[in-house]
Symmetry: C2
Subunit: 374 residues, 2 copies
């Protein structure tokens, strides 16, 4: 992706951090095509897929009285930061890691307008001995339950395999799957109703969340005191990175309960603000207000020598979730989020025009070719 | 577990093969307790859990017009056999591995009477380069789609993370999640109707499936030609192990379409035939007929020096799935399975009495203390 090519030779790019999307993408395309061809099977059961959900963050099926949404999501490499920090401080950070893992699936599932109902845990350890650290295991269980409590979902069960030879010794591969329903069906938000004039409401992030961690980990080599380098007084880089991902389903549920309408949503993850360009319709997304940038993201931007364009194309830069909704309801939406402890702002609006994102306060433009997710 | 203690010093036990359930089980118990406490959240959405599904193979929620069932399941270590065999033969075995991975979730989901609707793929590689082997990647995609076609499910999407530092280089951690519905609700088979007089119908396995692979891999050290040792003329041990897991949902769907009733089911996986004792009710399960044992399982039993009790307590020994149903319908069930190419036999019956499994042709008894899953 052209926007990933750093202009400054000191810049630490995502590719240098070890993630090469060019190698993964051909498989993804082949898998997406094969997956799309299986949708016809649903008719044998009397159901149909919501075709517009193909390529969205969760897959949606029309099962009659409501829509069924499902997803599986990986935490990524954030647990490696928890492991490094545990060695440095003797503390366990796995309660937060559990919340991160659940947030990965729940924050994606709600983009289609779904109410999350059931979460399943996938905890694949490098060996049985991973589970013998009682403090860490308890933190993982307690954090998982607390996140379920926050989101009002039932923890259905899960898998705790010991995968020596596949998962590295001492490590754990964490993922979550989530199933929910869109009910009433009018809550479906796969973008059919996205329109010029809609307001763009941004919900605040709590930090880096769980995307950009390969870069953040690679950066440690450059820091004077590694993970213990202070991001702000009294807060180390490692601790700041480990702030758990905000859970947004309480906000979307409260908004639905208040009768607010969402036309489209985007969970701002792996491609930073380029995710605002997610929907295939040709609109211009004009941003007039950017939310405050969490100190840890400012810190990463400085040390990785990223210009604003590079930073906003990779990290959430303070915006964890975007809602596209009738402008008349945007202030109420912000109030509901704030009442739940999640910062929110009316950041911009949707306009007819070329497909592009204009972050006016920073003089950044992202075009259609800057995001190829489908 | 007492039945896992080998009596013969040459016997290769599961613990020697690297899996120590004693270390995992305390975490599992803590997780199960925490998970059970989250069920009350469903009432906030107007729904309730099917409490009897706690501890069963899939989690079930009553959402009104039907039940919702969901699950996530790990493949385990079978992909390591595919990797070893690819080095020895130059072939890719990942089409079969894909089927195995889907079978893990689908064969569990159907135990509660659910129709699988959507499968999600979880393919976590040790690095982006895993996906650059085009033959292997194509086999994985093609095999995944073919299994979805066989089961009539939609492939909703999934995750293909590159997890260097967590998943070992050159390896892949494979899992699947599955969502389905129990419809009509009378198909629910969590054991409420399990009763004395029910027939036990066993569906044939296609080989080792994806359980017991730690043991099977460890055994290679003892074999004269490793994975290339012949199990039967023209079939190597490695190839025999890689026979893909049978998919049983076509059978359970055809049975439902024919109006047959299932009172309870068990997917015979990690604890071998002890899974027949899964339901908490106190019944005696009397087996009068055992299905043929696949050559690869006979071979493992011989080389691992397992007596029949040890073998049947660990491996499927030819029975991949058990159905407990009205005796009057058992012959029809077998015919439906056979018509779909899955061997089946009426193997025994459910009786009032002490909780035990009596495999009479082999003079084996498993008691309640031989299986502690909950």
């Amino acid at each position: 992706m052209s926007s990933h090519t750093p202009s400054n030779p000191d810049t630490l790019s995502y590719e240098q951090a070890g993630v090469n999307y060019d190698l993964i993408d051909p498989l993804k395309v082949a898998a997406q095509r094969a997956a799309a061809a299986t949708a016809t099977h649903l008719s044998g059961h009397g159901f149909t897929e919501v075709a517009a959900s193909r390529g969205e963050s969760a897959y949606v099926v029309d099962v009659g009285p409501f829509y069924l949404a499902s997803i599986v999501e990986c935490l990524g490499s954030k647990a490696l930061v928890a492991d490094e920090m545990a060695e440095l401080t003797g503390q366990s950070y796995y309660a937060g890691i559990a919340q991160d893992t659940i947030a990965m699936s729940i924050n994606d599932l709600i983009t289609v307008g779904a109410t999350p109902l059931v979460v399943q845990a996938y905890w694949a350890a490098g060996g049985s001995d991973w589970f013998s650290d009682k403090q860490r295991a308890k933190a993982l269980v307690d954090g998982w339950k607390a996140a379920c409590d926050t989101c009002g979902v039932a923890w259905g069960g899960g898998e705790t395999p010991a995968l020596a030879g596949i998962v590295e010794s001492g490590r754990i591969d964490l993922a979550s799957s989530c199933t929910g329903i869109v009910n009433p069906k009018s809550r479906l938000s796969v973008g059919d109703n996205l329109q010029a004039g809609d307001a763009i409401v941004l919900l605040s992030s709590s930090g880096i969340h769980a995307n950009g961690l390969s870069l953040a980990r690679k950066l440690v080599e450059r820091l004077p005191n590694g993970y213990m380098t202070q991001v702000e007084p009294g807060v180390s880089y490692g601790e700041a990175l480990l702030a758990p991902t905000a859970l947004y389903s309480p906000v979307t549920e409260a908004m639905a309960a208040a009768g607010l309408t969402v036309h489209y949503s985007a969970n701002i993850t792996g491609h930073g603000w380029r995710k605002l360009l997610r929907h295939p319709k040709p609109f211009t997304y004009r941003i007039h207000t950017v939310p405050p940038v969490p100190p840890v993201l400012k810190f990463i931007q400085q040390w990785a020598k990223h210009d604003d364009r590079e930073a906003y194309s990779t990290l959430n830069m303070g915006a964890g979730f975007a809602l596209f909704m009738p402008a008349s309801q945007a202030a109420d939406a912000c109030q509901i989020a704030e009442d739940l402890g999640i910062g929110a702002c009316i950041a911009g609006k949707v306009e007819d025009g070329t497909k592009q994102l204009l972050i006016e306060p920073l003089n950044i433009r992202f075009g259609d070719d800057d995001l190829q997710l489908r």
